[in-house]
C-alpha cells in the first residue's frame, strides 16, 4: 500500500474522535469543521494565515526529523524556537544603520546559534553522560521558557503593559510577501531549509554519518564514525533549525519578541514530522494541514467560541494514531531476527 495511507487514516480517525468530543460538549462537528475549513482556505487572507501558521512548524518539524535520523528524540524544539527567536530579536534591536543584506543574515544566524546552544547542552550530556535527551531537552525547554520570560519582562522590556521588547530595526525585517496577511519571506526560508535538510541527509558525509548512527550505532562505530561527535552534531543542528524558525517568526511576522507568541509551534513540529512521514516533502505538506488547523481554529474560536484547545486535541489524536501503525510494519519486518537475538 502506498506509504501515505497510514497517515491519512490517522488524520481521518483523529477528526472522527475530535468530532465525538465536540458533539459531547455541545458543538456541531460539521459546523465547526466547516468554519475551520473556510477560515483556513476560504479567501486570500485565510490562505495567507494558514501558510503563516504553517511556516514555523516546518522548522520545528525539520528539527525533530534531523535529530530523529540520528536516533535522538528532540522534544525541546519549543524552547529552542523561543531562544532563537529572542536572540534574533536582540540582534534586530541592537544594531542600527546596517544594510538589510547584512542585518537579516546576522539576525538569522544569531537565532540559529541560540537554538543550537539549547541543542548542544543535551547533546553533550547524552554523548558524555548518557543522559536521556528526552528529559533534558524537555527540561531545557522549560528553562528557555522562563529565561525568555524573565528577559522580556525585565531587562529588555519595552515601556508599556505588554511583555514584549521594542521593535526590531526595519533593516532586520523579513519582507511580507502577501498583503494584507502576515505571510513573510520566512516561508521561503522554510522551503529552502527543507531542501537543504534533504540534501544534507542524503548527499553529505554528515548526513551519512547521522543516518548510520541512527540505524546501527555499532556498525557505524566499527566503520570509524565517532558516535559522540555525530550525536552532538545532530542535536546541535536540530536546535539550530528550530532556533532559525523562531528567528524567522520574529523577523517576519511579529518584528519583536512577545511573551507567549508561540502557541506551541515546537509541539506542532513533532506532529508535523510524524504526519509528514519523517521526510522533508511530507513535512511541507503536513505543515499546511497543521497551519490550517491553527488558522482555521482561530476563526472558529472567534466565530463560534469553541475553545482553541480543540486544535491541540486534534493534533494529539493524530500523533497517537500515527504512532501505532507507523512502526508496526517496520517492527514486523525485523521482528523475527530482533526478537530471537534480543
Amino acid at each position: 500500500m502506498p506509504k501515505v495511507v497510514p497517515q491519512i487514516i490517522a488524520i481521518l480517525l483523529a477528526f472522527v474522535v475530535g468530532a465525538i468530543t465536540l458533539l459531547l460538549t455541545g458543538y456541531s462537528p460539521l459546523e465547526v469543521y466547516g468554519v475551520m475549513l473556510t477560515g483556513a482556505f476560504g479567501d486570500t487572507f485565510g490562505i495567507g494565515q494558514t501558510l503563516t501558521q504553517a511556516t514555523p512548524t516546518v522548522f520545528t518539524a525539520l528539527a525533530f526529523l534531523f535529530a530523529y535520523k540520528c536516533g535522538l528524540f528532540n522534544i525541546g524544539a519549543e524552547g529552542q524556537f523561543l531562544v532563537g527567536a529572542f536572540t534574533a530579536a536582540l540582534v534586530g534591536i541592537s544594531f542600527n544603520g546596517l544594510p538589510f543584506f547584512i542585518h537579516i543574515p546576522f539576525a538569522l544566524i544569531a537565532g540559529a546559534l541560540g537554538g543550537a546552544a539549547l541543542g548542544f547542552i543535551p547533546a553533550v550530556l547524552k554523548a558524555e553522560r548518557g543522559a536521556h535527551e528526552v528529559i533534558t531537552t524537555m527540561m531545557l525547554s522549560y528553562v528557555a521558557l522562563y529565561l525568555t520570560s524573565y528577559l522580556v519582562n525585565y531587562p529588555f522590556k519595552a515601556p508599556g503593559w505588554v511583555a514584549q521588547t521594542v521593535s526590531i530595526a526595519p533593516s532586520a525585517e523579513l519582507p511580507r510577501i502577501l498583503q494584507p496577511t502576515q505571510l513573510s519571506a520566512s516561508i521561503v526560508l522554510a522551503v529552502l531549509l527543507a531542501v537543504l535538510t534533504q540534501y544534507t541527509l542524503c548527499r553529505t558525509t554528515i548526513g551519512y554519518e547521522v543516518r548510520a548512527i541512527g540505524l546501527n550505532p555499532s556498525a557505524a562505530e566499527s566503520g570509524g564514525i565517532s558516535i559522540k561527535k555525530g550525536m552532538i552534531m545532530a542535536l546541535t543542528i536540530s536546535g539550530a533549525i528550530a532556533g532559525l524558525g523562531g528567528a524567522g517568526e520574529v523577523l517576519g511576522v511579529h518584528r519583536r519578541f512577545i511573551e507567549g507568541f508561540s502557541p506551541g509551534y515546537g509541539w506542532d513540529g513533532l506532529a508535523v514530522a510524524l504526519v509528514g512521514g519523517l521526510n522533508p516533502v511530507g513535512i511541507l505538506l503536513a505543515s499546511v494541514l497543521f497551519g490550517a488547523l491553527r488558522s482555521g481554529g482561530i476563526t472558529m474560536n472567534r466565530v463560534m467560541h469553541v475553545p482553541l484547545d480543540i486544535v491541540s486535541i486534534l493534533q494529539a489524536l493524530v500523533i497517537l494514531f500515527v504512532a501505532a501503525p507507523m512502526l508496526f510494519r517496520y517492527i514486523l519486518k525485523r521482528g523475527g531476527i530482533k526478537w530471537w537475538n534480543s
Partner: protein, 308 residues
C-alpha cells in the same frame, strides 16, 4: 530584611515532603512501567489528566475522595492506552507518551473552558482534609515536619514500601522484572508477556493519576491549566536517579521536592524574579542527569516483543 530563618525553617521541610509527593507517585509509576520494559514519557499527561479528573468529579459529586478514585481510574485508562499503542501495535514509546501529554494539555484546557468557562482555572472544589498522626506530631521538630499532612502524602510513603515488597518479594514482581529484562525468557517460562506489560503500564498510569489528584485536591483545591508543570518529567529523572528502585526514587523525589518547596518560598519572599526561581527544579533535573554517578543503566530491554 530577610533572614535565613525565613527561608530555612520547619515549614520548608514540611513543604518538601508535600512537594515530593506528586513526584514520588510519578517516579514509582515510572518504575513499574520501565521495569516491564515500557518507557512512559506520558506520566506528565497522566498526572495532569488525573488532576483535572479529580477536580471535576469532586465538583460534581462534592466528594474529594471520589475525585481521587476517578483520577486513579483515568490514569489507569491512559496507561492502558499507552500500553495498547506500544505493546499491541508495537508503536514508538516516546511518540505515544508525547501524544498523551499533548492530548492531556489540550483536553484539560478544552474541558475546563467548557465546564467553567475559563481556560486557566476551574472553580474551587472540596479538597482533601489534612490529618494529624497522634504521637507522631508531638515529636519535637520532626513532628512538625511529618506529623500533619494530607492522607495522600502518607499513602505515598506506604505505596513506596508496598512497591518494594511487590517488586522484590512477590512472584508478580519477579515476573515483572523478568518480562522487562528478557521477555523471551519470560515467555519461555510460560509467562504472558503482553499481559504483564499491560499491568505495569496501567499501574504506572494509576500512580501518576494519584499524583495528579494530590496536586489538585490535596495541595490546592482547584485545577489550573498545565498544573503538573513538568513534574511527570522530573519524576522520570527521580526514577533514574533512584536507579529504578522504590526507595531510591523516594529519596530522589524528596530532593526534588526540596527544590520545589525552596522555589516557592523564595518566590513568596520576592527575593529574585519569579522566572529565575521557577526554573530551579528544571535546571536541577538536568544537573542530576548530567551528574548521575557512572551511567545509569536501566534494568530493562525496551524493544517491543513480537512473536512469530
Amino acid at each position: 530584611m530577610v533572614e535565613l530563618i525565613d527561608v530555612i525553617n520547619v515549614g520548608l521541610f514540611a513543604a518538601t515532603l508535600r512537594m515530593a509527593t506528586p513526584i514520588a507517585y510519578g517516579a514509582l509509576g515510572g518504575i513499574f512501567s520501565e521495569r516491564v520494559g515500557i518507557v512512559n514519557i506520558g506520566l506528565e499527561g497522566m498526572m495532569l489528566t488525573g488532576a483535572f479528573t479529580g477536580v471535576t468529579v469532586s465538583f460534581f459529586s462534592g466528594s474529594p475522595w471520589l475525585g481521587v478514585l476517578a483520577a486513579v481510574l483515568i490514569g489507569g485508562l491512559l496507561g492502558l492506552l499507552h500500553g495498547v499503542i506500544t505493546v499491541r501495535f508495537a508503536g514508538n514509546q516516546v511518540v505515544s507518551g508525547t501524544g498523551i501529554n499533548i492530548f492531556a494539555l489540550g483536553f484539560t484546557a478544552y474541558m475546563s473552558q467548557v465546564l467553567w468557562g475559563s481556560r486557566g482555572a476551574s472553580e474551587s472544589v472540596s479538597g482533601l482534609p489534612e490529618i494529624s498522626i497522634p504521637l507522631l506530631k508531638d515529636i519535637p521538630v520532626i513532628g512538625d515536619i511529618i506529623g500533619t499532612h494530607t492522607p495522600l502524602v502518607y499513602l505515598m510513603i506506604i505505596i513506596t514500601v508496598i512497591s518494594y515488597i511487590v517488586l522484590f518479594k512477590t512472584p508478580l514482581g519477579l515476573r515483572i522484572r523478568a518480562v522487562g529484562e528478557r521477555p523471551d525468557a519470560a515467555d519461555t517460562a510460560g509467562i504472558n508477556v503482553h499481559r504483564t506489560k499491560y499491568l505495569g503500564v496501567i499501574i504506572s498510569g494509576m500512580l501518576a493519576g494519584l499524583g495528579g489528584a494530590f496536586l489538585s485536591l490535596g495541595h490546592l483545591t482547584l485545577f489550573v491549566w498545565g498544573m503538573s508543570g513538568g513534574r511527570g518529567f522530573i519524576a522520570l529523572a527521580a526514577m533514574i536517579f533512584g536507579k529504578w528502585m522504590p526507595f531510591g526514587a523516594f529519596g530522589a523525589s524528596v530532593m526534588f521536592g526540596f527544590a520545589d518547596a525552596l522555589q516557592m518560598r523564595l518566590q513568596a519572599l520576592g527575593l529574585l524574579p519569579p522566572q529565575i526561581i521557577l526554573a530551579i527544579p528544571y535546571i536541577l533535573t538536568v544537573a542530576v542527569l548530567a551528574g548521575v554517578v557512572g551511567r545509569a543503566i536501566p534494568p530493562s530491554n525496551y524493544k517491543p516483543y513480537v512473536k512469530e
